[in-house]
Amino acid sequence: MIAELGQFALILALIVAFIQFALPMAGSLTKQHAWQYLGRPTAWLQCALVATAYACLLTGFLSDDFSITYVADHSNHLLPTPYKFAAVWGGHEGSLMLWVLFLAIWTSLVAYFSKSLPIGIISRVLSVLGFISVGFLLFILFTSNPFLRSLPAPLDGHDLNPLLQDPGLVIHPPMLYMGYVGMSVAFAFAIAALITGRLDSAWSRWSRPWTVIAWSFLTLGIGLGSWWAYYELGWGGWWFWDPVENASLMPWLVSTALIHSLMVTEKRGGFKAWTVLLAIAAFSLSLLGTFLVRSGVLTSVHAFASDPTRGVFVLCFLAVVVGSSLTLFAWRAPQVTLGGSMGLLSRETFLLLNSVLLSVATAAVLLGTLYPLVIDALNLGKLSVGPPYFNLVFAPLMVPLLFILIPGTVAKWRSASLPDMVNHLKWIAIFSVVLGACLPFLLGEWSIGAFIGWTLGLWVGLGTLQHIFERALKPGRIGGSFWGMQFAHLGLAIVVMGVTGVKSFEVEKDVKMSVGDEVTIAPYVFKLNDITEVTGPNYKAFQAQIDVVKSGEIIEQLKPEKRRYLSSAMPMTEAAISTNLWRDLYVSLGDPLPGDLHQWSMRVYYKPFVPWLWVGVLIMVLGGVLAAFDRRYRRVSSSGPLQTAAQAVSSLNAQAPSLKDQFFSDQVGNSAHNLSTVQDQNPDITSEHNSSLNENSSPNLNSSGAH
């Protein structure tokens, strides 16, 4: 019953999603106002239906209903309950359910938080989101139905892949999917703006918080994935340039470029066409990632079981969505206005350089990931493109990016002065280079890579701290946007230093140990006390007890395991990690060695600065959250007089014929800026006196707000 109910809910959701797509868009194009207002209710209804379907699938897992094929394939009655929650997205069909659920949630959030948006815009945005939902729901119902039954029901399921039975892997996919799906919002805004023909600072102001939140989720998802791989796979690697990892990195790179490009558009109305293209690209890469993982065109440790029919469907969907958006782009972009002028040395240019470097990096990763496919398709044979290529190509692109970051935050809009900037930054530069040159000596061996990595990390870190310090000395409230930027950059600096540190100074020892033996990686001594057999809920394991000794004292006990899950023949390594802010000590139990000495192979690692990777990522995510929830965005969407003012400003912008528009961006932009400053300095009045202020507001401004 539950499965049938779920399937029925999905079918209803498809119908509602189709209405959500068709009617508001048709309404906005033919000026049928009533239809446009259908956008919000259909979005919410679709969300309720998809959530119902998801709940049905979840119930199937929690109640061990093995007559549902998907449940039997990915669960087992011995599976601990928390992992039954995660098992829902353990396979292809379930992960797609997660996709549509999140898409429905994002759509509902957009529908809810868009009260200040003109109905013409919101109807189109929701329509685009509806189209994407339709595509995915069709995909699920026709090729990837999780509700299929197999009768007679097996007595027990196959179990969730042991690799996935882990807390890290429980949160990683949902966070990643929130990021992937979130890119659709910026995409929808871009498409809506292209259709309307209105690409102004208002559009960029609406898009930005949504994009930043999606970016934050994506950053967190990628970070969690790396962290999981690090502690779970047993040899301490955290990035492999696997096609699926690349599929998540590319939208991240492009959305980072997008966030920075939106700043230029918002502030100075410049390079709108490029920003729109980035918004389309970010989501397109999300979709491309979905295709690559499920179609079987690339070999990857992450890939879901592939099926050519599924590949064809996703490719068609990808072609339709991206093809039509790029066609729309080619048609409308020439009409986009230019915005304010910018000097060759200005903040705008630095932000655009950021775009260029990130886009080229994305192109390089895409090229490397798809090159084997291209060569094979051209019948030129088979070749592999692996980490050596990516490391060689990606790192040099990041060097200039990290370098321009600090000047970019310091440069003035429109026109910056080089002598001023040099003066401002010279001490930071000197410190970074000197420290960067000395640290490798102190920490281990000197190498050019360590020098460059440390110098750049310190450059970004110290530059950010200097910026914070200078701003703190000035009067006035500091907004979330500022903190967001600083935290994100600081987090990046910490990640860079972490990567440099671990790659340059890690030590690995591969040894054979019997009970009583010890391994030394100065200043730590690892002593094997015992190896015992332990039993878990669905596995049996050999567990080693290791004392970690420093300066004669036992500072920690590590218990690495070699597990054999009851459902699979594959032995699994559970590494034991001792962590503090500066380093990880990583021990991995290998196999028993033949012979009478009762020896086991053991891998012991000293990994300095690895925790900085995870801490840095978390700080970046925090930065994103702070930036997204800047009062500027919240006020504009919910408070009365500023809402009216924002509408007035954006409508003034819209009404100006294209010739005037370029002047407007500057002047009106300034006015809008003044208004928000006033608001910042007087936070109390706005919320309490909405109604009275509305009465007094100029009728001229209001009348232009109606669309």
Binding site: L315, L326, L373, K382
Partner: protein
Amino acid sequence: MKKFLIPLVLFGVLVLFLAVGLKRDPHEIPSPLINKAAPDFSLQTLTGTAPFSPQDLKGKVWMLNVWATWCVSCREEHPVLVAFSKQIGVPIVGLSYKEIQPQDDPEKKLSTEALLKLARSRGSVWLERHGNPYTLSVMDLDGRVGIDYGVYGVPETYIIDKNGVIRYKQIGPVTPQTLSETIIPIIKGLENS
């Protein structure tokens, strides 16, 4: 303005490649040994006392089939090979690939002779039960000859011509379809030349 069409064009090219890619199998590794001399070896056979080398079959078109008793796909392919060996006069040499697996000798205590004996007996029993399409079968216990031939999975089959040059490699089990569509025509072509 034409420049705005560039993204669309590039995307179109990408979709074309992806579409072609859907039909390809990224796991299949074509052999670089095609049209090159078959690597030489000298291995003990399953039953006989004298070792075998590819030189022994110079002047004839022959097939080398990589198999093992632990290989599941080999069981699917075996009846096809047995039937084929009866209808066509081409010698099929079996390469018993890594018959001894790590779990057979976890303590690594057995001698090479003991391992060879075990492999031979297992292989013989298996062939008796499932049929023997092979003129003879050679024992590649440590897989070195396999590596020389670029073997990366079991079963795999090679067609070698009269001059000892590899002309075709079949990855995966031989099916009646591959036999009739690919293998037999190639063999006929090689025999006539």
